[in-house]
Symmetry: C2
């Protein structure tokens, strides 16, 4: 005897990597980044409504695996994400991720999606959204140090959201720069390959650092950073991993997502626990000042926070209603009588 | 231009609800419970090797959503599980779950599986495994108060692992008891439907309480519990949710999975924080005493711990190598060049 087909309740919409790529291309990368930034900004502006916790990290010698949950009154979301700097040399992604959005009311998942691509998109959208508040007025040139998997997403986000028209690329591995130049060759940006970090930052009002070494590196030294720039520091995102010289931090006004997490994982792990930082949601709500002076150095000490993933999950959950790039996954047991789980299994012989 | 097919690295084996039912029936429920108990016992006996943390819970008025991660040197596992007592009345499962097993070395998931059924199995296997150490010698009759989704799994586990031959069932809702009697009618157990908790516990050496109300209930009062029984208390598993009268706790020797979690979620939330409890892994290793006296009341204050789910994930990951009841899921982005995530997306047009 076989069961009838599982009911609709048993199925969770699943967005595969292939469907995510189709969805992004159907909408367009820049349109996705612009709309994602809107979702993220809307959620930052209702920051106090969220159940917040620092991510739950499991560290090993080779990397980290993290769970990043958050919830509002209606939805619960979490992301699984790994960070393994050594992966790239072995042919694996440094970062892979997937995520789930659920109903708070009954606890049932309503979306399972790949988030390797989606994380790249939300990280870039967040960076550009933050720069919209902090970058010096009229900055149209961005230096990008580190030309790995995140690089082109950042470039596209700053183009779409901040009006950047020129990117100056540098990576210690020239092959990474060549890859990025190729991918950005026909997107409407002026792309300049540089042979040093110093060269990359020439004339740049925005400096993005995005390297992946799992150690305290000094991608930017103090004398490289002049007045009136915005630094978008992406790569320092776990304990023991930083990119900026400490002296830059003490000269900059520092903006963060969620202080309890950033103090553990961000550039500011190099500073005292009470070093003043400004929370970005307060800037977006007008409750705290962003850039106040053209000569100020602003620093977004980005580590990525669960609410950004929540926004991204909301975005995808909405988008697959218009563009059905998903497949239903038989992930939830749904017996006719909820108490008859055993009978459902026994009858499936 | 379309990409070639994703590489094998992009795919994660997924065990759907339907495949889990097929797998369980192919192996046989009792064989699954016996082997699962072996996996769980093996992991309890290497308890100090695990990275342990209390589960990460997000509570709302209507229920809870939890993430339960743990890891050893080789694998990382986590379970997503909800608990919504009101769900049953609305036609949803009180508890649904899914889980992931990953490689610690590169962070890639190696298994995604439904865990609603698997959690029911591992909870029952754990209960019976613990009773093997704690129940009075020769106890062959078990009272079961609460005849919901977990009931028959418990009965089968105690039959397979502890030699229980008689179960005495009681539920405040007679329909639940009728369902359980029917499901257990031809499994080789003597099944007695009772009309009160008092009647159910007559002559029972083992008492299992497994009710789902999200509040402090008193399923067992002090005068119901005589000397020389083992109580398997399953249902008290979140803050504010207990099943036993406090006076029973002070007369019993209490055994727990992971004290920091049980003190928050278990029956012992009714006691002082320093009330003595014994950790089960120490009993299994012979480092602490289990039952020492025929007249002793032993209590397993079960809340469920991440290591049991880890064992269950290991079990399924091993079993699908012999019984390929899974489908490959395109869940991980895997560009030819790990740094060329953007190019992979752009080329999928």
């Amino acid at each position: 005897m076989t069961n009838p087909k599982p009911s609709a309740l048993a199925f969770v919409p699943f967005v595969s990597v292939d469907n995510m790529m189709k969805l992004v291309n159907r909408i367009g990368v820049e349109a996705v980044l612009l709309e994602l930034a809107d979702y993220i900004e809307a959620d930052f502006k209702r920051w106090p409504e969220f159940d917040k916790t620092p991510r739950v990290a499991s560290h090993s010698d080779e990397g980290v695996i993290e769970l990043m949950p958050t919830a509002d009154a209606d939805n619960y979301g979490f992301k699984y994400v790994n960070g393994h700097p050594k992966n790239m040399k072995e042919g694996f992604q440094t970062v892979t991720a997937f995520g789930v959005l659920s109903s708070v009311s009954n606890g049932y998942p309503i979306l399972l999606t790949e988030m390797t691509i989606l994380t790249a998109l939300r990280t870039a959208a967040t960076s550009a959204l933050v720069a919209k508040y902090l970058a010096p007025k009229g900055a149209t040139t961005m230096a990008m140090i580190g030309n790995g998997a995140q690089c082109e997403f950042q470039a596209m986000a700053f183009k779409a959201i901040c009006g950047v028209d020129t990117v100056r690329l540098y990576d210690i591995d020239p092959a990474a720069t060549i890859k990025a130049v190729k991918n950005l060759s026909d997107v409407g940006l002026t792309v300049i390959a540089c042979t040093s970090g110093e060269q990359a930052i020439e004339g740049a009002g925005i400096i993005t650092t995005c390297t992946a070494d799992k150690l305290c590196a000094t991608i930017l030294t103090d004398n490289m950073v002049g007045a009136g720039v915005h630094i978008n520091a992406i790569g320092g995102d776990c304990p023991g991993k930083t990119e900026l010289h400490r002296d830059i931090l003490t000269r900059a006004d520092i903006f963060v997502e969620y202080p309890p997490q950033t103090r553990i994982e961000g550039e500011i792990q190099q500073l005292d626990d009470d070093h003043p930082v400004t929370e970005l949601w307060q800037v977006m709500l007008g409750q705290a000042a962003g850039r106040t002076d053209a000569r100020q150095i602003t620093l977004f000490d980005s580590v990525g926070f669960a609410i950004e993933d929540f926004s991204a999950l909301r975005f995808i959950s909405d988008k697959i209603k218009e563009h059905p790039f998903f497949e239903p996954l038989d992930m939830l047991a749904d017996p006719d009588d909820p108490r008859d789980l055993f009978g459902m299994v026994a009858r499936r012989k």
